[in-house]
Symmetry: C2
DNA sequence: GAAAGGTCCGAAAACCTTTTCGGTCACTGC
DNA sequence: GCAGTGACCGAAAAGGTTTTCGGACCTTTC
């Protein structure tokens, strides 16, 4: 292991050093290293050898300064702590990582001032583009500053219609969920969701209703809006069973809610999925696979959403900037809690 | 709302533009904007005005090229998907964010090749330092490449003792956990943990044993190592109750395990916390607060760990590089599952 | 009135890389 | 032997900022 200790303080090795060692000019060294033509193979070899020997690493700053492009993008999120930003971020990092692009990560903590601060910092670092990741699917105001690089909004769309936004298709997700339950033979379907303030909750309910309408079914009871918590799931399930004992499926607004619903069903002696099928949203692995039985859930494909945002940004950097709100489809991940009715 | 549309293609405004508009030289403009002395107040005012009018944003690339410092650091994580990297990352971002430092985020996906690739990219971007975040507390090999900037290892320590690592103090955490249970009046304490391969599991068990020894108590049964899953918690709790029915407290290796234990206890008719106290590890909010009763848990203070890593990196950049493994203390977050024995 | 001193400003170098363009050299064909 | 032709290499500029240092100008003092 020839792991040389960090030679702190030593000036970084530059192209001139390589050129000197190889006995050529910097111009030739540059061309040799970058695979430009008009360099004698033997010369190129000498340069490469010298570069390897000095473990030369070209200074991206100088390169970026000259090229007007830095190969960096900014990822601006509102709440890193939330579990939605992260997969998106991963997907984006993934899509960029293949190429030569590095990602600046900034968390605005939901604070507009901090957001502006971060945007300024990113612009001064001359990022080639910006992805703005929201913490919910509710539309958010566009960036306050005039930005001369392309911007893609992910998860939370921009309120400005001329901006490009990429969001999960929650309406269709609700539809798919109910269709799955119907395919499992369920006809008396209830919906316990989270906070009504969230467009995600309303959109999913709307999609669910659409699927019910299409099948000529009615929702059992009203949509029970509450909180995105297990406790709410437990409480709401209790009320539901009291009022609508004949229910045979519960679509839940999130996996947390579903976990609560599962708990109450178990305590009330209802078997899942035999008596009642339960379905969650988000496909949060730790909750879905830890449940008894394991929880069928709708996955929002957030990583794919992140990748899509990254791809869109690429296109916007190289060519024309897209507009409007684009959606990424969700998918149903079937587990034990919605086995077909026997 | 003077949100001008992105003027794509327009060359970015430079200091020369500002200087020209203000009727001074670039040197003077630079000094005026950077608060250097030897600039007439009136001149400075003119320059500031011009800069504001053009919404000038200094080019960090040029600045970094000259200064030899970029004000950027690299954050290299092995698994962004895991829930441990994220709070650390947030803490680091937090500590940096106050200043003028931006963070490059890279996820190596646990792949050594990808890691080297990322390190090279970061070095070519001339980061001022590097934080390497592991996915478990098990020691990891040091970076493969010779790196001429300071490196701080967070969560997973480096195997090389001359490196600087910052990790949670799991041994002491296990001790604190048992001390808390004893303080709650428990004396027949069992320990159900996760995968024995993880040093975190072994360290916590060691600390727990130390606290028991100090109190003159014995562990009820053996440490039950298994998996970091709810299912294991349920199964292990069942076996525990069969073999050691007199147990009055269960220390769990993670919140997931604890959730499983809570489930089994409830089904077996044991009241929590009256009959049996339950305690988790990680203080994973969604699991701990969703539980019935809410779960007492040991918080590893990962955000603080991230901040500590960032601070250590700062110091290493400005001054001398620290060495060895440093620990960040954990803390017990008390909730309903360990109320004092009545 | 001249020297001294102080205040403010600008020219130029430096940071490192890429690219353009002109120059050198060897070789070919007459 | 000489023009012509490639092949290869190097000088220099460009990119935007900071810093140094010299110069210009004004005020003060003898």
């Amino acid at each position: 292991m020839a792991r040389t200790p960090a030679p702190r303080g030593t000036r970084a090795v530059t192209l001139s050093d390589v050129a000197r060692l190889a006995g050529v000019s910097v111009a030739t060294a540059s061309k040799a290293l970058n695979g430009r033509n008009h360099v004698h193979p033997q010369t190129r070899e000498r340069v490469l050898e010298a570069a390897a020997q000095l473990s030369f690493s070209p200074n991206s700053l100088a390169r970026g300064l000259l090229a007007g492009r830095t190969g960096t993008v900014g990822l601006l999120t509102s709440d890193l702590v939330g579990r939605f930003s992260l997969p998106i971020l991963m997907g984006a990092e993934d899509a960029f990582g293949a190429g030569q692009v590095s990602v600046f990560l900034c968390d605005a903590r939901g604070d507009a001032i901090r957001e502006r601060h971060h945007v300024q910092a990113l612009l001064s670092r001359r990022v080639d583009g910006l992805i703005v990741v929201g913490s919910s699917t509710d539309p958010r105001p566009p960036l306050a500053d005039a930005v001369d690089v392309p911007v893609v909004y992910a998860y939370a769309p921009s309120e400005a219609p001329e901006d490009l936004s990429i969001v999960p298709d929650n309406v269709n997700a609700g539809r798919m969920a109910v269709e799955h339950l119907i395919a499992c033979g369920r006809t008396r379907i209830a919906h316990i969701s989270g906070d009504r303030q969230y467009s995600a909750a309303r959109d999913r309910a709307a999609g669910a209703q659409a699927a019910l309408d299409a099948a000529g079914l009615d929702l059992v009871g009203e949509v029970a809006y509450g909180a995105w918590e297990e406790g709410w799931g437990r409480a709401a399930a209790g009320m539901l069973l009291d009022r609508e004992p004949e229910v045979d499926a519960v679509l839940c607004g999130s996996d947390q809610v579903a976990r609560g619903v599962l708990d109450t069903l178990r305590e009330r002696g209802r078997r899942v999925p035999e008596d009642v099928a339960v379905m969650g949203f988000d496909n949060w692995d730790v909750l879905a696979t830890g449940a008894r039985p394991q929880l069928t859930s709708v996955d929002m494909n957030l990583e794919e959403l992140g990748r899509a945002a990254a791809r869109a940004l690429f296109e916007a950097i190289d060519a024309e900037h897209g507009r409007g709100v684009h959606t990424v489809q969700c998918r149903v991940v079937v587990r034990g809690s919605t086995a077909s009715a026997g």
